[in-house]
Symmetry: C2
Subunit: 393 residues, 2 copies
């Protein structure tokens, strides 16, 4: 375990709200599970956190690894609660509920907070056995995770270095492309989204990062913020390159977007870029501990609306203009707390790692987005991004 | 949508159990969501399936893509149910519950089956608003997904071709290694798990596959079935290579394991391999539509127990010997229905795609596992794996 979380806020929440523990039933892909268990397993297992101890309930298959690798004080197996024998008597579903309830009793717990997305069948099973189970609408574990330790920020720095190498590989391909018949060409072939993505992903791999999805989108594709892009890249069209790698060792992410154009862009596209760069600067200027995510998002909307572009603030139904939030936390999840959006009323804290990613979208112009990743400090921010902001390459 | 699922079994289950629809609230990473929505989105969204129609409830950000790419008959946005305005009045959690309930009312649904792992907070919100919500302990959608169409089997074939190329790259590295001081060497450096894994992963990328975790483990690491392995590979030690790629386009997986040794293996390791190969053959001989997963698993246990090795059947607490199940279904998930294990009492059906992966583990000997992927047919199986079974390389 490379990160030793400060869980005092979770302890306080349990005490204040009168619950004995916090319960997870998920695979490690759910980041709260990874964070509280300190264990990496592909299939769901159970973690019970109390201010006194952390206990895991795992399959026999994971028992050895859980004992040596997790941060649990005690590791139990389902068969310690006779799951197999009980299943033959009462059926697997009932047996699992009985075993889960016995595990809680063994640890001395009769009421639990759980994540909002805790599995319904486990919650129903425990409630039927008189355990109080309440989804934590306040998302206290997400709040704890949002404030990064120095170690965690270092993990993100490492992922961001890989990200910059991958962005460089992508930019080099685009900048080196020849223009023929309005389409970018590389080595005599049309240069496609897929080809650029492969270059990005191989570069990330060589830097120890796993590849999630990567966006390399131009034209109308780029006007849809989550469209991954496909096919030949057009000359003079803004190409959004959005890379969000995860370090395979630490599991922490980074996130960065640049928009490039090769060949002559339209005047509208140039305006999109200039205003978006101004929006990025405005957001960064607004950023420091104590302001809210909504304040920062508001600064971006101001820039766009002043320049005459619609935003979801000025028109909640718009499908063009600035049609997403300004940013989000990054850590074990690529999207996590805190949000930098109109509904982020909580104060940003030192140690929050967030993206700032204004963008403009219109099917007739294409899409432009610029995204940096920063850590919030008491008097501003430290930009973890070391990559030029440059449109025409 | 490349797969058009036959959902008549789901329709029948809804009718028989008296529910109006089947509800999902998850990102596309949850395969039932991907299967029923036909939509690929990174953040959670809502799918409501009824025998008459499929409706999606998504954020504004995903609205355009959902309309053009999903298999939904109708796509709604949260703001169609005034989420934003309501949140300002009653808070976001209550507003979300109200909007979700209104969405169900709009589609004419007042009772829903949901997956066992449906999010508790959504279930509680609907129940408070008099919607009946029941986790489907029978996992009918998983049963539907288990039987593959020809198109789905073809998707798995494509992933398996990539898998074989990656395994070949791994085997070539290991077979070409020099032995110095008991450790494998490549290009003058110790050959590590990490180096072999990188070769596998780059090969998969070049073949259009995303890399999930990959296991390259030897020595005591390999004696823990889920240990990914790390550090230099030892001469004469069995090296387990377990690759389970996902095709990036179709999202379907394949899964294959081979165990290699470079240098002289111990007699115990040779015995592990010979008995495991016999166990694989016994399982394949037992396989056809109409037998149960437990029958096939029993054939494997028979071979191991007859040869004097412990299994979880002969000793539920053993930490050495054959300590996992024989296999599992493969599709959108790398582990899905049907199970090939002692608790798989349902009959295998033609079109089920399963792994057969017997193995032996002992910290003093290491681990050996051999895994093929096959599609069950009326009178046997078709082996989708085209890769030799060979230990010493």
């Amino acid at each position: 375990m490379t990160v030793d979380p400060d869980l005092s806020e979770l302890d306080a929440a349990l005490a204040e709200r009168g619950f004995d523990g916090y319960l997870l039933d998920a695979a490690s892909e759910e980041s709260n599970q990874r964070y509280l268990s300190g264990f990496d397993a592909p299939d769901p297992f159970v973690t019970l956190y109390t201010p006194e101890e952390t206990a895991l309930l795992v399959s026999s298959l994971e028992y050895g690894r859980a004992k040596s690798e997790s941060r649990a004080d005690t590791v139990y197996r389902w068969n310690d609660f006779d799951l197999r024998e009980r299943a033959q008597e009462v059926g697997r579903e009932t047996a699992r509920g009985d075993a889960l309830a016995d595990f809680l009793t063994e640890v001395g717990v009769s009421s639990v907070l759980v994540p909002r997305r805790f599995p319904l069948f486990s919650a129903d099973a425990l409630r039927e056995r008189d355990v109080a189970v309440e989804p934590d609408g306040d998302e206290v574990v997400e709040d704890v995770r949002a404030v990064k330790t120095e170690t965690e920020v270092d993990h993100i720095r490492v992922a961001q270095k890989a990200n910059e190498a991958a962005m460089r590989a992508a930019e080099d391909l685009i900048a080196g492309a020849a223009v023929e018949d309005g389409v970018l060409h590389h080595a005599g072939e049309p240069l496609t989204s897929e080809r650029v993505r492969e270059e990005i992903e191989v570069t990330l791999l060589r830097h120890g990062c796993a590849l999630d999805e990567t966006i390399v989108a131009c034209g109308a594709d780029a006007a849809e913020p989550h469209n991954r892009g496909s096919g030949p890249l057009g000359a003079g069209e803004p190409i959004i390159v959005d890379i969000f790698p995860r370090d395979k060792e630490t599991k922490y992410h980074s996130d960065m977007t640049r928009t490039f154009v090769r060949g002559e862009p339209s005047e509208d596209a140039r305006d999109f870029y200039a205003v978006t760069e101004a929006a990025l600067d405005a957001a960064l200027d607004a950023l420091e501990a104590g302001v809210t995510g909504a304040d920062v998002h508001g600064a971006v909307c101001d820039v766009y609306e002043d320049a005459g572009y619609p935003t979801l603030r000025s028109d909640p139904d718009t499908e063009t203009g600035f049609i997403h939030s300004t940013g989000h936390g990054v850590g074990l999840d690529v999207h996590e707390s805190p949000s930098v959006s109109d509904r982020a009323d909580d104060e940003l804290e030192a140690g929050h790692v967030v993206t700032i990613e204004p963008g403009l979208y219109d099917p007739d112009v294409g899409g432009v987005r610029i995204e940096d990743i920063v850590v919030v400090t008491e008097d501003g921010y430290e930009n973890l991004t070391d990559y030029p902001v440059e449109f025409e390459v």
